[in-house]
Symmetry: D2
Subunit: 297 residues, 4 copies
């Protein structure tokens, strides 16, 4: 049976207290998110401060989310590491603890060497050896490299590679990926940012893994549902209304902004780990105004 | 009375023969384009090899297009120069010869100094002194700089700045521009590439100035009309089908590819000026296959 | 007889008054520069606001400099245009008016197409048809492209291509160019910024075409002479002392900063053409402190 | 007593066999390197495939190098992690096992947020809490960010931050760092690539941490010694001769090239970990010719 990755997933923020993962706070957040139409959760993605977590912390996150996961929601784990072997290992540990799929960021430290041949071999070996299906994660703003549609089309032939989260925002490229891969549930192209959610849906994306869905789960789901139900004008209106808020919790203020926004809308956000700096007071005020403008507070 | 910039405009290729502008060939091309639903033409934009033309050649192009322009079509001239004064001068000369509006690329040689203050002053002075309305032209792949939505919103307050052609392909940014500027005919946000035409229309763009519309005018117009008429599935299907062809005549093979494609679909393309190199035989074969795949030949 | 390009050349700023080139002010500047050991002048390079000048203005600059040029100094003209043909034409007009050599910036608007084959053909044709020798001008910060050493080595085989001004600041690349081209006077590698003058000389560069030499001609010449005479410690000390001033008149404040600095050290600088903005008062104060720190005022 | 970081250090390659660190092979390499005038070793830097090693493997590398370290050589460990806390922890574990200093790469996943304030706080806290002195590691080609001289000057005031390895190749910036920090042994500016070794020494650098020193330790040391002894012409000649080989084992072929080169010159190199691909036969042949040209085989 094929896994269907459809709808809206937040790459959830990882709450910290006294320097440790605050599982109780996470449970409270999940309790609220569980009441929405979110299709599931992505744990320790870029917005979950994956690069600041050790393996034990990551697996404990899988446990906590799994324990609080309604049956109709999926759990995706951000298991991409720089090395192929470490990625396989983490993926299978996460799978054992209950992850339904793995989101695998492109390795990128040695950018100059990450050509199509290297990336292809990396993903194929992971797909071969993983106990759960794989989603490619393309996020040039963090990695400095971008996966080309030709490579995606080729990787989509592997039965265990079932999709891509594209955060490049290059909508023509998203379109090319959709045009050259099989339709869901064989392969899913997912928007990687709420900024291009409607545009991606309009070309055939099956959903999105969106930082903004942490703080605006209902609104992100509504865009998806309005679009699917042919309420195009409503979808467009809401998409335009959310753009500034989306920029605020991504490019403008980053993970620190996402966490501050969570606090402002009633979830637990807290501070990011160092070296990320919490927002200053002026930034918080600016963020609050933006969230008000979007109708989120 | 306000100028309405709506629908599809090709930034037309400039035909050369024996090193000079081939006005007879241009007339033949116009004769064919005139039979389509194109909303008008942009002369000497990036795809018209503007940087290879001298002022006399540019004005002669305005003359030829104007002489062959049906009453219901608009003539837009790519008058942006590096200096503010030269831009004003060329804009008004083009206006005198019949241009309806001017497309003004961001000055970019001194990229490091082209901050919002410099660009703002540049565009405001041009808008103040121009005899025709101004469209901002944002094309980072050629200029190395990108106009931010905040600046666009501010410039949109000037009554003689009536739109922007955005070729960045950053669809979230296109959305922000639409969300923060007045609707047409006060301000028009136009897709700058067929690769994001449907996505831009979906957010409220009023049309596009598209290299691909040189070789596929009917198809580009059909996407616009299908979208406007609510035939969304047809629009999407055609958009996806054209992506590879669009990439071929822009990022992949550039102006040389656009001209070769014109030749292949029955217009006159010819060779670009040096230092652009005409396509080699292998490239031509690859291009031909792509155009066939898109149903253009 | 081969032209020897050795020592320090300022790419001179173009003085404006009431929007026109102020030839009288230029003559005054030249009178002062002529008393230094500068090896000559480069007119209408990047620092001469070449992109804001029309052809007539450029040729008038050649005239004025030529009329005021001591016999032992060289006159280099920045004749690179986007098109090959325009470059040849301007080069030969400048040569006719007395330019000794031409500095030809890489064409760059169509960056994606300016591969080695296109650049090679461009430079070879210019070299073939030019009445004076050609210097390649590599300035990635303005052009967005960089000439690779392999191409330089290949172009160096043409007898009319006698050197390169490298402003990339990539000193390993400068070294590779020196290692793979014939020594002066067959081929000259010239530092394109005072920031890497000593480093380039240390690897075998024959001099530099340096914005800073506008305002600190004696100091730039002294680094060259100290190095050539084996006074290495003095050269190093002066090089380090000038770094902040060099950055101020290039990357930090650009041409506007260069012109403000000229005013501060007793030359005529004046304002740049629009869209470049003159420095604000705070910037001027910061610049003044930097020049003081470098011992230039 | 202050630690003096002077001379040439290779960031040593990590040998693997059957997927595990091959400590016996490392011992053989160290035996040969120990006979040279290398000033010490950097373990698990970029060239040591740090991002592919887990903590246990890293500490085992410290052990093996420490056991085979002559008294007059230093051991530097590449302990930079994305999180501040993880960096402190790894640094102190490495110090406990015998590392003399730590090389701390800039955190970089969240590039957009790594402004001077964030980087400053990160380094100061590490410096405060580390049991050994800290060297900043600036390597934009891998990290996508660059440390500015102003930040370096500010960090140099901390007594436990004793230098920087600069791999940017921006020689003017290296000069600025030297001009604005105290001289060794308070603060050391080190070339991060053999491509700018001589240039950096000429401005006052105290040495280099150089990938090329893995395969050409004697030659790199000779440049340093020739320069220090005033044999400038010899230093220059050797510097130019090594440029192509240096490029081959860095930008051109990366870590895979470095390891292949080690095999070719008689050390053990072996294959890199996946996703890095070993060189193909054509690449090996090209590399061999380059090493021959540099007189290394």
């Amino acid at each position: 049976m094929k896994l269907k990755i459809e709808g809206i997933f937040p790459p959830i923020a990882t709450p910290f207290a006294d320097g440790r993962v605050a599982h109780d706070r996470l449970r409270e957040n999940l309790e609220r998110w569980n009441k929405t139409r979110l299709a599931g959760y992505a744990v320790f993605g870029s917005n979950g401060e994956s690069v600041f977590l050790d393996q034990e912390e990551k697996l404990a996150l899988v446990d906590t989310v799994k324990e609080n996961l309604p049956q109709d929601k999926l759990l995706i784990a951000g298991t991409g590491c720089e090395s192929t072997e470490a990625t396989v290992k983490l993926t299978n540990l996460a799978a054992e603890r209950g992850a339904d799929a793995a989101l695998v960021v492109t390795p990128h430290y040695y950018k100059g060497n990450m050509d199509n041949a290297a990336l292809r071999k990396h993903y194929l070996r992971i797909a071969d050896e993983s106990d759960v299906p794989i989603l490619i994660y393309n996020v040039p703003k963090f990695t400095g490299i971008s996966v080309v549609p030709e490579l995606v089309a080729s990787l989509a032939e592997h039965s265990n590679i079932i999709g891509i989260k594209d955060s490049s925002g290059n909508i023509a490229q998203v379109g090319e990926m959709i045009a050259t891969t099989p339709p869901p549930p064989t392969f899913h192209v997912l928007a990687g940012s709420a900024g291009h959610l409607l545009a991606a849906l309009g070309l055939g994306a099956s959903g999105g893994i969106l930082a903004l869905a942490n703080v605006a789960p209902d609104e992100c789901c509504k865009i998806f549902e309005d679009f699917r139900s042919g309420r195009y004008a409503e979808a467009r209106e809401l998409q335009l209304k959310l753009l500034a808020a989306n920029k605020a919790v991504t490019a403008q203020f980053g993970v620190s902004g996402l966490k501050a926004a969570l606090d402002m809308v009633g979830y637990f956000g807290g501070d990011p780990r160092s070296p990320l700096l919490p927002l200053g007071e002026n930034q918080r005020n600016e963020l609050r105004e933006i969230l008000k403008g979007a109708g989120l507070i």
